[in-house]
Amino acid sequence: MEDLSYSALVRERFEKPGNAGRLLGDVVTGMAGEKAHGTRVEFDFRLRDGRVERARFRAYGCPHTIAAASWVAEQAEGRDLEEQGWLDPHALADVLELPEYKLGVLLVVEDALRDATSKALRI
């Protein structure tokens, strides 16, 4: 392994990933990525009055993926569904201090978020 240095935020989210798990009952699920390619992310949204009331994630991937999915699920809660495009992967890369070659995993996280949001808007 060449480099196992992770930012404090990535370490913290990897150790104690907030908003991990699945929501039961009436939820929409967005997903992106392939396990065979090393990254798979899923988000569950429970909706109320056009907003994301609760959000949970599941992730198969590197520590950056887990940290990013956890952060996004947390940030998604309470947001209006019409507020699309709120996630800027480059800004999140800065927050997580992601190495440039890992930007691809954030795009998978973003795709899963888009998938969940678009499904929610179709309800």
Partner: protein
């Protein structure tokens, strides 16, 4: 989680220098010790140093059942592999320009073969079965009339599986093909006998068996001079095979390490086999785990395991209370999985989520038990986060 003192389980990568080895090395460095140039035969200090070097050469030779005059000091197994392959190819190219090796060799052999290919040599890369074993049958199918050299490692450094060295050696002898064995992972751990194995060239290293880094040796059958084309010129040391002032303290350390390993091999091998079984019995309880390589034919202390449902980089980071290595260069942009495990037919996910546990002289039952506890906890945690987590695994997270 404290990672200040992770449990060391990476003995196949390197080992600490044994205290007994360090003591004899220290005797060869300072003004009061045997510091002189072993090539300085004109004075007593030089002759004393030469005496220590030759004692070490005998100690290394004894472990291989070789003659001391067949041992050439090098900087390590990588240089030994280079000297063996390039030296034989360049010196004996009139015999033929075809080389046989395997896809699961160490990069020191593979990259040297790539270099020789650029020089016009042809190389056949054998692919083992799913058990990882390179058999004499595989080699027999690849040998041609113009085959010059066969190079096969004794113990694979990633999965710990042993090749059919004796049978391959006999085959090479019958077919008049030179036979090189990379024994970096087996010297001092498994019995070696260059005569019984029909080996012509054998690479060994000190730092894999509690000797210092930066020193190794190449066994060259018969009279060393003229057998190989040297890589390094200048001074004619080591029968002209490897010029340069010998690092007496390194060489003496290697000799002592080999002597200790020979004395303790039987008991240590039994102890490590017991610890390895204890480790595997503990880990396999997780379910969804795969032992990589043949379960029977393996070095005592090495276990390579793939874990279903966990990603390699996360697994390695989650296991940072352990000093283990991954079978994957998974932090690189390419996320390239282990070429050895891919050669065995493992899919990308399993190849990428493999961990090599290698036990050694200072490993204890308590280390193994703690390792099992950590692996069980972390693999279950990561599986619980994954999309296909079962309801049970995800129950702590469900809302």
């Amino acid at each position: 989680m404290s990672t200040k003192n992770p449990i060391y389980m990476d003995y196949a990568a390197t080992t600490p220098v044994d205290d007994r080895v360090a003591r004899v090395m220290c005797e060869c460095m300072t003004r009061e010790g045997v510091f002189a140039n072993p090539a300085s035969s004109s004075h007593q200090p030089g002759r004393d140093a030469r005496g220590r070097v030759e004692t070490a050469r005998r100690q290394v030779a004894e472990l291989l059942n070789a003659s001391p005059t067949e041992i050439v000091w090098t900087s390590g197994a990588t240089e030994s592999d280079n000297l063996a392959l390039k030296g034989a190819a360049h010196r004996h190219s009139a015999r033929g320009r075809h080389i046989v090796t395997s896809r699961t060799e160490h990069k020191a052999v593979l990259d040297t073969c790539k270099q020789l290919e650029q020089e016009g040599f042809e190389v056949t890369y054998l692919v083992p079965g799913s058990d990882g074993v390179i058999t004499a049958e595989l080699v027999a199918e690849a040998i041609r009339d113009d085959t010059l050299l066969v190079s096969i490692m004794h113990v694979n450094n990633e999965i710990g599986v042993t090749a059919d060295i004796e049978d391959i050696g006999r085959l090479c002898r019958e077919r008049h093909v030179l036979f090189h064995v990379d024994a970096a992972q087996s010297a001092g751990k498994l019995p070696l006998d260059v005569d019984a194995m029909c080996v012509d060239l054998m690479s060994v290293s000190a730092h894999k068996i509690y000797g210092p880094k930066g020193v190794g040796a190449l066994y060259v059958r018969g009279q060393v001079g003229n057998r190989l084309e040297p890589l390094i010129h200048g001074g004619g040391h080591e029968w002209g095979m490897r010029s340069g002032t010998l690092a007496t303290h390194q060489v003496v350390g290697m000799g002592e390490a080999f002597a200790i390993a020979q004395q303790e091999m039987d008991t240590e091998s039994r102890r490590l086999t017991g610890l390895r079984h204890r480790l595997w019995d503990g880990i396999r309880g997780l379910g969804g785990v795969w032992l990589n390589g043949c379960p029977e034919r393996r070095a005592a202390g090495l276990l390579n395991v793939s874990f279903e449902g966990v990603e390699g980089e996360s697994l390695l980071f989650a296991l940072r209370e352990l000093a283990v290595s991954s079978g994957s260069a998974c932090t690189s942009a390419s996320r390239e999985a282990s070429y050895v495990l891919r050669a065995l037919g493992r899919d990308d996910q399993l190849a990428q989520s493999s961990i090599r546990f290698s036990l050694g002289r200072y490993s204890t039952e308590a280390d193994v038990d703690q390792c099992v506890e950590i692996v069980t906890r972390e693999v279950n945690r990561l599986r619980g986060l994954a999309p296909e987590a079962t309801a049970d695994a995800a129950r702590d997270w469900a809302v």
